[in-house]
């Protein structure tokens, strides 16, 4: 009788104790969940921020069209994500290439489902915002000449055929993550993916007439957009830790340091090269820094971040100012130069500066940290990652572009381009700043 009551007491005590313990795999940590939900909102804000960044850079006759195409990504990809995007990216692995359709429509995921230390719905939300902005990034390249119906078809096709697989490769259990390729917040998945896609798309779309290449409509709007991007990117990078811990804070500081350095570097480059520093340059440099630190943000230290910032500032500056003119493709708003090249610089630099100091003993010391074979091996892995992404995104986007071209058509007519897409495609002017009556009520 005594033994039995001891057992009961022991069981009771165990139950009491266990209800206070959190086994990391089973229970949602409210701090982590709150931070990642917040990060999801921050990253979603990046898409309107991007819309203004691109809108301000567009010719004033196309400003509504550019902002609308980017906002459209929120509309279309949000729904595509729920129906099949999430499951293709993060569902049960098929051939290390793509997820399955088991969670189509978010089937089987409930408010009680857990992923790591956050609610699985939080993870769904957070990842949705990445898919949304990746597609949005591409659209800067097509300013002034893409049919709106073409954009509406291109967006879901590309998200499915290009974003979801690459996301799966790196974060969803596919070959790239398994191989040890490091991409903390999306240097390959988001930036190289969209940069390579932009290049393919503009090659199919063709160049604008030189008379339609105009100065930016609204430079202060560009700065506003860049500011919103810089702000939201803290969710993008520090949120990719998927926890509200020291490494997330570390990623915050690393992100900010790299961005600040890159912006300043671009200003200096431009001052030396062109004689005058510009606000567009400062904003562009900041975005280049944000792009480059994205794959590295959870793996490198602040001093590595400074060096990555300098590389991004210089590299992306010359990519935008020299490479585009030399190669002759019409990437209107420099998606390739900033995201494609910036993402590549960042992906490579991750192999230079990643450090066990941040990653823990299971991590890797990059080549400039450890000066050893381990670093060289990691550089090799990083190269495989970015080369594979460039190749896949380029080829698949060509295919998607040709499909769109053959179905709804890709390019607007010359008359529409000359008049500007705001009036031609949307019947909606961006501004009515004159005081006299320019449009009277019918």
């Amino acid at each position: 009788m005594r033994k039995l009551s001891y057992i009961f007491i022991l069981m009771f005590v165990l139950m009491l104790v266990s209800s206070q313990m959190a086994w990391a795999e089973d229970v949602v940590d409210t701090g982590d969940n709150a931070w990642i939900l917040t990060s999801s909102a921050l990253v979603l804000l990046m898409t309107p921020g991007l819309a203004f960044f691109y809108g301000g850079m567009s010719s004033v006759k196309n400003i509504n069209n550019m902002i609308m195409m980017v906002f459209l990504c929120m509309c279309i990809v949000s729904v595509q994500w729920v129906f099949w995007g999430y499951t293709l990216s993060f569902g049960a692995d098929h051939g290390s290439f793509i997820g399955g359709l088991g969670a189509a429509g978010l089937h089987g995921i409930t408010p009680d489902s857990v992923s790591g230390t956050i609610s699985e719905y939080t993870f769904v939300a957070f990842q949705a915002t990445f898919a949304i902005i990746t597609v949005g990034l591409i659209l800067g390249a097509v300013e002034g000449r893409m049919k709106f119906a073409a954009a509406m078809l291109f967006i879901p096709l590309w998200a499915t055929a290009c974003y979801d697989p690459v996301c799966h490769w790196v974060w969803g259990g596919g070959w790239a993550g398994n191989m040890g390729i490091l991409d903390f917040a999306g240097g390959t998945v988001v930036h190289i993916n969209s940069g390579a896609a932009a290049l393919a798309l503009v090659l199919v779309l063709g160049r604008r007439k030189s008379a339609n290449i105009r100065p930016p409509a609204n430079v202060p709007m560009i700065a506003l957009g860049a500011g919103l991007l810089w702000f939201g990117w803290f969710g993008f990078n520090a949120g990719s830790e998927l926890a509200a811990d020291g490494r997330a804070a570390f990623a915050w500081v690393v992100t900010n340091t790299c961005t600040a350095t890159a912006a300043f570097t671009w200003v200096v480059c431009e001052w030396i090269h062109r004689g005058k520093p510009t606000l567009l340059g400062l904003a562009s440099g900041a975005v280049a820094g944000l792009v480059a630190i994205t794959p590295a943000s959870g793996f490198v230290g602040p001093l590595g971040a400074v060096q990555i910032g300098i590389m991004a500032g210089v590299g992306c500056y010359f990519a935008c100012v020299k490479m585009k003119a030399a190669l002759g493709y019409d990437d209107a708003l420099d998606v390739v130069g900033v995201h494609g090249i910036g993402g590549t610089i960042g992906a490579f630099a991750t192999g230079l500066y990643c450090t066990k100091m941040v990653m823990g003993p299971d991590g890797v010391d990059g080549f400039f940290i450890g000066w050893s074979a381990e670093g060289i091996n990691q550089l090799g892995l990083q190269c495989i990652g970015f080369l594979a992404t460039w190749a896949y995104a380029f080829v698949v986007t060509l295919a998607v572009a040709y499909i769109v071209k053959a179905t709804v058509g890709l390019r607007t007519s010359e008359k529409q381009e000359d008049a500007g897409l705001d009036l031609s495609l949307h019947g909606e002017a961006g501004y009515h700043l004159e005081s006299e009556a320019v449009g009277t009520l019918k």
Partner: protein
Amino acid sequence: MKKVEAIIRDEKLSAAKEALKALGVAGMTVTEVKGHGTQKGITEVYRGRQYAVDLLPKIKVEAIVDDKDVKKVTDAICEVSRTGSIGDGKIFISSVEDIIRIRTGESGEKAI
């Protein structure tokens, strides 16, 4: 009656207005215009793309004056608007057939 149409630098507008007021010129019309004479344009640079901007912003001031006042008005405008560099502008003088004051219906020199 003559119309004095002066195209001057942007930054000379307040000086020109003051000069006209001091002379008793009652009214004027001011428009923002773009153009050039022999003044060279400027180059704006946006991310490595250079844009030649050769239509420069200027201000056009129009005023209707009595024939006898034309010289003193143009002298005053020239004096306050001149900098000595290319781009100071030009004044055009043309005849006006008639003027009508809308409020009262008066016409001719009474309406100036």
